[in-house]
């Protein structure tokens, strides 16, 4: 038993990403076609030259036909992927493994979600017949329990913690304001953030990710073929995934100050990539900031800060776009919203732009480091799936 990984065996050679927004005028098909068209052009391939497709959507459609119909794919292997909010990352993981196995030469991962046709705010899970005993809390409420638990364990006062969480929101809005593809493109002051109406627990509106429609896609090939498609391929160093057993919800030992599934996935990813000091080896990280306390504890789960210290690092600006380890330089879920099937691939898209030096100048991070991390989670504290990838510009 082992997680061997596929370090340097597969490369991303083309990517595309729509703007994430309330696309009242665009259907799921429109979003898919826009992201796929940009991606085909980016890699310089036609849809016929792609051998197999993986399509991630949480609840905008079922089966591979949801992708095959709008793109009019003829007789291709097209598989629909769903794995909570990590759906988009999972589509890429499947495509990369298919290429690494030798089964296909060229594979494509597409993620898309049309959230804004439901008529409700927020994300609403597809109902499955049940006995009526499952909890019906919002994700905001489940994640809101992290903040007081963290504060109590590490002796961070209520006001100080509010400042820390506002700093995370402020930073992600700063980054999103500079990103033409973000849903929210305005800077927001910490005063406004702190004064926003409460949603759940102590979380206010500005502690929560937005809700948007969007799509993103990537084309992967064997690493040795990469330079045929682009002179700046992004090599896959690690793809790691951990599904929790759900026992955190019923295990009295779980204290809501960390996400074990994320720590496990990170550890595995670093082993695959050969990373020993993520804080200093990574050029940047895209993490799943669904709510501000989530990003806070992820800094510790991902090894960017020692346990109980991330709040100080946040206040010190460590994770700012101009700081030593930029986190969510694109603005994160906070600024992009969370079209579930697309979010994981949107994170790869930011790594793709930043590592290739193709972000717009005002938001391009300055670094000589060659590695980026993406982290995507789904579910709730205690009952979570987590994905961590590492990608880089150089082999070896």
């Amino acid at each position: 038993m082992a997680s061997h990984g596929i370090k340097d065996r597969v490369a991303i050679v083309g990517m595309g990403c729509t703007r994430f927004a309330e696309h009242w005028d665009k259907s799921l098909d429109d979003l898919i076609i826009d992201a796929a068209t940009e991606t085909f052009a980016s890699a310089g391939v036609t849809k016929e030259e792609v051998d197999a497709y993986w399509f991630g959507t949480a609840q905008s459609g079922m089966s591979g036909i949801t992708l095959a119909r709008p793109l009019q794919l003829e007789g291709k292997p097209v598989t629909r992927v769903e794995n909570y909010c990590t759906t988009g990352s999972e589509a890429l993981r499947a495509a990369a493994y298919a290429v690494a196995s030798g089964a296909y030469d060229v594979a494509m991962a597409v993620g898309a979600e049309k959230v804004k046709d439901s008529g409700y705010q927020g994300l609403n899970a597809f109902p499955i017949p049940n006995d009526g005993t499952a909890r019906t809390l919002t994700a905001a409420a489940m994640f809101s329990m992290v903040a007081p638990a963290y504060g109590k364990k590490y002796g961070v006062g209520e006001d100080e913690l509010t400042e820390v969480l506002a700093r995370i929101s402020w930073k992600n809005h700063q980054n999103g304001a500079r990103n033409p593809r973000a849903q929210f493109r305005k800077e927001v002051s910490t005063e406004t953030i702190c004064a926003s109406p409460r949603v759940a627990g102590r979380l206010g509106v500005f502690d929560c990710a937005g809700v948007a429609d969007g799509a993103a896609a990537a084309i992967v090939v064997r690493a040795e073929d990469a330079l045929k498609y682009t002179d700046k391929p992004i090599y896959i160093k690690a793809l790691s995934f951990a599904a929790g057993s759900g026992s955190g919800l019923i295990d009295p030992d779980y204290d809501y100050t960390w996400f074990p599934e994320c720590a496990t996935a990170a550890q595995d990813a670093y082993a695959q990539a050969g990373i020993t000091d993520p804080r200093h080896e990574l050029a940047m990280a895209e993490v799943h900031d669904c709510f501000t306390p989530t990003e806070l504890v992820l800094m510790e789960d991902l090894g960017f800060a020692a346990r109980g210290t991330a709040w100080k690092e946040v206040l010190a600006g460590t994770f700012d776009r101009t700081g030593p380890l930029p986190v969510n330089p694109d603005g994160g879920l906070k600024s992009f919203g969370h079209p579930v099937g697309a979010s994981g691939l949107r994170m790869f898209f930011e790594a793709w732009l930043q590592l290739r030096g193709e972000a717009t100048p005002e938001r391009q991070i300055e670094t000589d480091k060659k590695l980026a991390l993406t982290h995507n989670l789904g579910g709730y504290p205690g009952e979570m799936v987590s994905f961590v990838s590492v990608v880089g510009t150089e082999l070896g």
């Binding site: 017949p129 909890r135 627990g201």
Partner: protein, 481 residues
């Protein structure tokens, strides 16, 4: 063979409506004092469960042969509501469950029927009611919500009778004083004075007849309460009973209100909780006639310890704004949370998980001792498969490990207060709190489980458990000690 009451308990919901609040809104209606109000997540079935749990808790070792449920405001028609109570009480399949439906008199009727059948085994008689009327009506103010449960049985080792049934009487007459047709939102009444002319003589006759059957005289009565929705008739009859000064007890109309089908048994519970051995206790109920029940408490009552006395529950209540009352009763519709409404519960899934859903029974891994709520086949600790024993946490107290307040999620009465509970004896479960002021919740607070209705969809009530603060008689929420 001595037959009587083995255990008895009342249930008065936590919320109170101060009657004066009605007048403040409508410039009419209301009155003095307060009435009890069932929470938005309670109905007659859940209140019946709460009363029955309390009665059984004070009679360890009791094994009723049947569960009877009587109410004038059933949660379901056609479907038996007593089966839900049966499931929540973990009763085995060979215990019968029957509803006595419709009329206010079905409560005292069920109780008298159970008492009058010596040698028939023990029967748990559960009664409950939700009383209201249109805003400003007399019924809205005079009514109350509540339940009672009476474990009736023959005196025996381990399950001694605490109040021996001396006898009773019933008088019946066909006249229209109060009525409600199926689907009507409110009851209607005839001119009050007519009912009084019928009830007082019927009550007097039943009283005399009941005393004779019981072999006691009026001046031997230590405690008696006259109940009935016709308050004027009940008061008039009370003055004519011929009992000693001080024997006629408080009918709780000033603090709880008339709980209809439940009230006679609720009064009986209240009186017996205050009685010592050798007291003669009677209750008179006026509903389409009159019913009288007479008891003498036994020496066993000295050792009987009520789990949650009615007086304590009455004292522990907290006020509810009149607007909330109207909303909870469906008299006013307020803007719902902008979230999808829940889907109906799957009948087959609910049936498979009956002991969990209705009984709050989880499982314990015999090897590691890890408690699983809900029950599991594969252990979260060590991975043992199919080696678990059932573990009942419905009566366990728990401590709040952490909590949150959800202002977005769907609820019939937002916001949802939600807590992670660690149970005494092991086990953790995240669950909704109820009968709680969101601003008072603290980590470390002590709570206990209560049977509630989460929502109703497609006419199906979703019954499950919530947690409520452990309260002392003074009404303060307890903290972890």
């Amino acid at each position: 063979m001595t037959r009587g009451i083995v255990s008895i308990a009342g249930y008065v919901p936590y919320r109170r409506l101060q009657r004066a609040e009605v007048g403040k809104v409508f410039a009419s209606g209301g009155g003095k004092g307060a009435r009890s109000v069932a929470s938005h997540d309670e109905d007659t079935t859940t209140m019946g469960v709460e009363a029955a749990r309390r009665a059984l808790r004070s009679a360890p070792g009791a094994a009723p042969g049947a569960v009877w449920f009587a109410t004038a405001t059933p949660a379901y028609l056609d479907k038996t509501n007593a089966t839900t109570i049966h499931a929540a009480l973990h009763q085995p399949a060979d215990v019968a469950a029957f509803d006595f439906g419709g009329a206010l008199r079905s409560g005292p009727g069920a109780l008298r029927t159970a008492l009058g059948a010596p040698g028939s085994g023990s029967t748990l008689v559960v009664v409950a009611d939700l009383r209201d009327g249109l805003p400003t009506s007399g019924d809205e103010s005079a009514g109350g919500d509540g339940a009672a449960a009476v474990l009736v049985g023959d005196d025996g080792p381990g399950t001694p009778v605490v109040a021996a049934y001396l006898g009773g009487a019933s008088m019946t007459d066909e006249f229209l004083d109060r009525w409600r047709t199926v689907g009507d939102r409110r009851s209607k009444t005839w001119e009050e004075r007519f009912g009084e002319t019928r009830y007082v003589p019927l009550g007097t006759d039943a009283w005399q007849s009941g005393l004779k059957v019981a072999g006691v005289t009026a001046d031997e009565i230590d405690r008696v309460v006259v109940t009935g929705m016709h308050g004027r008739a009940a008061k008039a009859l009370g003055r004519q009973l011929g009992v000693r000064d001080g024997a006629l007890g408080d009918d709780l109309s000033a603090t709880v209100g008339q709980t209809g089908t439940a009230h006679a048994a609720l009064m009986l519970a209240s009186m017996l909780e205050q009685s010592g051995p050798g007291e003669v206790v009677a209750v008179v109920s006026l509903a389409d006639g009159a019913d009288v029940l007479v008891f003498r408490t036994t020496p066993a009552i000295a050792a009987w310890s009520p789990a949650d006395p009615v007086a304590d529950q009455v004292a522990a209540g907290a006020d509810l704004p009149y607007g909330k009352f109207l909303t909870w009763r469906g008299m006013v519709t307020t803007e719902p949370a902008r979230r999808p409404e829940p889907q109906r519960v799957s009948s087959s899934a609910a049936w498979r998980n009956e002991s969990w859903k209705f009984g709050f029974v989880g499982s314990e891994d015999r090897t590691s001792g890890a408690v699983h709520l809900p029950p599991a086949r594969v252990s979260m600790s060590g991975g043992v498969v199919d080696d678990m024993v059932p573990v009942d946490r419905s009566d366990a107290e728990a401590t709040i490990a952490t909590y949150t307040i959800d202002r977005l999620a769907y609820s019939p009465s937002p916001p949802i207060v939600f807590a992670i509970l660690d149970f005494d004896g092991g086990g953790r479960f995240p669950v909704e709190l109820t009968d709680v002021d969101p601003d008072t919740v603290e980590i470390g607070d002590r709570v206990r489980m209560t049977f509630r209705k989460l929502f109703t969809a497609d006419g199906i009530h979703d019954y499950f458990w919530k947690a409520t603060p452990v309260r002392h008689a003074a009404g303060d929420a307890a903290t972890a000690g």
